[in-house]
């Protein structure tokens, strides 16, 4: 059985978190997010003054996002054990997870696009920047669907020895719900529900990282406890 490969996939998830933090937060300096209330000129100035950082940081961040692919795959493999002949929830998680990778990667490319030619018309920079943050923050549905699928599979696991502890299923549903406020960012340019706000950004991002920590532990345990085939 490919225990080592599965474990490597789990570690990819952790590596994603580390590299994302390094690239997006530390190097590119894109957290705290540029405020949606900024005018075109101010925003353009931000990108002009941080061109090198943003180019390098987004490169690392973009790479890190594809590390979630093996992570999503190993979640699917373990979820598979909770379902019978027709693993719909497993497939749901797989597809939703794939979409989340795209949703993370495309905005990253937009940031680097802006940094690529920062002397551009500020209105164009504003447009691309708006698009990037709305895509990054507002698109809660694939994450929501992914985590609800995981939660449903875990809670619906009727085996004598469940693959995951049941509280992990409930935890996934809780995290999923906390992504919902992200959908509100299209209405606000300031306040807690703007894309840089407490409830639409900071709270979901915090639980996003927490989810990785919890699932990291849960997956390693589940892999270790997988019964050996005869």
């Amino acid at each position: 059985m490919n225990v080592k490969t599965q474990i490597a996939c789990v570690w990819c998830g952790l590596l994603f978190v580390v590299l994302l933090t390094l690239g997006w937060i530390v190097i590119a300096g894109l957290v705290p997010l540029p405020s949606p209330a900024l005018g075109a000129d101010e925003l353009a100035a931000f990108y002009r003054e941080n061109t090198g950082r943003i180019r390098f940081g987004t490169l690392i961040a973009m790479f890190s996002m594809s590390l979630t692919i093996p992570w999503i795959a190993v979640i699917a493999v373990q979820m598979r054990r909770t379902e019978g002949e027709f693993p719909v929830l497993t497939y749901t998680q797989l597809v939703a997870g794939a979409v989340t990778v795209a949703i993370l990667t495309v905005p990253t490319l937009m940031w680097t696009t802006v940094a690529f030619r920062p002397e551009r018309d500020p209105q164009l920079i504003l447009l691309m920047s708006d698009f990037s943050w709305l895509m990054f923050i507002m698109t809660f549905p694939p994450f929501f669907v992914q985590l609800v699928a995981i939660g449903a599979a875990i809670i619906g696991d009727k085996a004598t020895r469940p693959v995951f502890p049941r509280w992990v299923g409930y935890f996934n549903v809780w995290v999923a719900i906390l992504f919902l406020p992200g959908g509100l960012v299209t209405f606000f340019k300031s306040g807690p529900f703007a894309w840089n706000g407490l409830l639409a950004f900071w709270m979901p991002v915090t639980v996003f990282f927490l989810w990785y920590v919890v699932m990291f532990k849960a997956l390693l345990t589940a892999i270790r406890q997988t019964p050996r085939q005869a």
């Binding site: 009727k158 004598t160 020895r161 049941r166 809780w174 719900i177 209405f187 807690p192 409830l199």
Partner: protein
Amino acid sequence: MPQSDTAPFAALSADTSAPPPEPPHAHDIPGEPGVWVFVLGDMMIFGLFFAVFTYYRGLDVELFTTAQATLNQDYGALNTLILLFSSWFVVMGVIDVRERGGRLAPPLFALGFLCGAAFVVVKFFEYREKLQAGIGITTNDFFMYYYIFTGLHLIHVLIGMGVLVVLWHLARAGVGRPQDVRLIESGAIFWHMVDLLWIVLFPLLYLIK
């Protein structure tokens, strides 16, 4: 029904219908422990919502009080009573399942569900009244919080109604295993959380000045 003479053999078979051995303090926690992860977590988040509202209210009390005056407090109070009634039905349903064979439980859970539906209907009229007056989510900060927090709560009500349907099914199927009872308790706990969140939301949004 318990088959104590075959219990030792149950562990040997790969049969998944045999209940797993219960941990020693299984019944010290109502429902299953996992549901409390969700419930306490959700309560924490709503606690954050309550704090954020009250903080921003403190920065512009006059705006908030003026805006609040246009709220329909009767609808709010009615909804509080509706949820209280629904919680009572659900409590009775759980007790019936646990102590009295569960024959009254399905209609009780159904009544709880109907109350939930009534809550949604009242909310519909309340939102419509506001929207027709041109008051939307971006009208001002008070109404931003009003729509978003009551909206997120409403989503919880809708999810809870789904949970009550599940409870109704479980109760109708005739409750057998301890896990089923605990599952029903867990669903009820979620519903009571929905009730208690509104108990705080109502005075906070509608009444305090």
